[in-house]
């Protein structure tokens, strides 16, 4: 399938966050531009090799301020949620997200220990099957992927390859279904609101229906506004466009709600 260069999906795919990771009392620093749709699980081995090569991977974890980083949530979702940065009032200063690498005192009530990349792969494909189930009433599309397709999809995530990723994502996310799976994030200390929306509506209508106390109007945001891939989405954007262009690789639309600046 020929992809148009600089299409919205490709621009979204190429969105990234600059991170600086250090360990206390260690002079080494890890610097990288991480794709917003990627996961910290993908760099945990590299961080361990740099900071604590003799330690088991499952003892390693990251923090941002007081928050423990959930390696099974996309990087972009974590940044939007934990920074609470308002994209509409962003300054021209580039973002550099500071994180700390830890060994020991693992926050086991908040973070799943990552024994290996297989743990991450299982987690990712469980989420993908779940999003397929929400869309289609069964996980059959994901299960029906051939082994080469499954491996290509997984490797496209690991290798940040849009042209391998997009055809399979399109096959999975734009079937005949008219339902799209949502995860809505209200704050770092709050549970995820897991829901779904129908195609043919606007984002404002969806939020007003799902969270009427937080979105009393389907047209105007008054208390909170939705951030997806670091962009405040207008209330008029259609769920069709969101499904086509803004899904994360696990098939969900991950929407972070931030307070409206007064």
């Amino acid at each position: 399938m020929k992809q148009q260069r600089d299409s919205i999906p490709e621009l979204v795919w190429n969105g990234n966050i600059s991170v600086e990771i250090h360990q206390k009392e260690n002079s080494l620093t890890y610097l990288a531009n991480l794709p917003r749709h990627s996961y910290f699980a993908q760099i945990l081995e590299d961080l361990k090799r740099l900071f604590a090569p003799k330690v088991a991977l499952e003892e390693c974890w990251l923090s941002s301020g007081k928050a423990s980083i959930k390696w099974h949530w996309p990087v972009g979702v974590l940044y939007d949620l934990l920074s609470q940065e308002d994209p509409e009032s962003a300054t021209s200063v580039p973002v550099l997200w500071h994180l700390v690498f830890h060994v020991g005192s693992f926050p086991s009530s908040l973070v799943v220990p990552m024994g290996s990349m297989e743990t991450f792969r299982t987690c990712f494909f469980n989420a993908l099957k779940e999003s397929d189930y929400v869309r289609n009433g069964s996980s059959s599309l994901v299960i029906a992927l051939s082994k080469p397709e499954t491996d290509t999809y997984w490797n496209s995530l690991l290798n940040h390859d849009f042209y391998d990723y997009r055809p399979i994502a399109t096959k999975l996310f734009t079937s005949k279904s008219r339902i799209i799976p949502l995860k809505i994030y209200l704050g770092a200390d709050a549970p995820i609101v897991q829901s779904s929306a129908s195609l043919g509506y606007t984002l404002g209508q969806v939020l007003h229906k799902q969270l009427p106390r937080l979105f009393p109007s389907a047209v105007m945001y008054s208390l909170l506004k939705p951030v997806l891939h670091g962009i405040v989405l207008p209330s008029t954007v259609s769920t069709d466009i969101m499904n086509r262009d803004f899904c994360y690789p696990d098939g969900f639309l991950h929407i972070v709600l931030i307070p409206i600046s007064t």
Binding site: S108, S109, V112, N126, E130, Y133, V134, S139, P191, Q194
Partner: protein, 176 residues
């Protein structure tokens, strides 16, 4: 009968058995449960040494559980976390399996996963809803049936016995 009503119907039955119940309604009804049990152990390490003054008794296992209706899979979903000391939860599947009857461990290992807890920002173990769906296909229970949740709890107990024994005792009408 909606799911919230099913949960409300269950609460007095569970509380009679000494299970702490709290209906949390943030954006969906979730029933939070807590109880303690003596853990199962293959080696029966709860023993008294008559020759010695040393006595070892296995500590109680604290169970925290949540029941919600999966918005994705449209079936009841059971989340749980286990603690020996009230603070550090179990994070390894093999540690959970060691507390389950040997004949159920195979089923449990296929059905259990760990992920985001629906009632907090933490993580917990859960019985995968795909497996629950297979159960309901064969059980042919209507969501309107008053025994919808009790029968589902029997299924959960098949996987997690004896951790969930207090729930079964509650349904059998055995007080604590």
């Amino acid at each position: 009968m909606n799911f919230r009503q099913h949960l409300l119907q269950l609460i007095p039955t569970l509380e009679n058995r000494g299970i702490s119940c709290e209906l949390v309604e943030l954006f969906e009804p979730i029933l939070r449960l807590q109880w303690q049990i003596k853990p199962y152990n293959d080696e029966k390490n709860s023993l008294v040494e008559e020759e010695s003054e040393m006595i070892y008794v296995s500590p109680d296992l604290s169970v925290e559980a949540w029941i919600r209706f999966s918005p994705s899979y449209q079936v009841p979903q059971f989340f749980f976390q286990l603690y020996f000391d009230g603070c550090v939860p179990f994070t390894k599947l093999e540690d959970i399996e060691a507390l389950i009857l040997p004949e159920n461990r195979g089923l449990a290992s296929e059905a259990l996963a760990i992920g985001d807890c629906p009632a907090s920002n933490g993580i917990s173990w859960y019985v995968h809803p795909c497996c629950t769906q297979k159960f309901f296909y064969t059980a042919e229970i209507s969501k309107q049936d008053a025994s919808y949740l009790p029968i589902w709890i029997l299924y959960i107990h098949q996987l997690l016995s004896p951790i969930t024994m207090p729930m079964i005792e509650a349904l059998d009408g055995n007080p604590s």
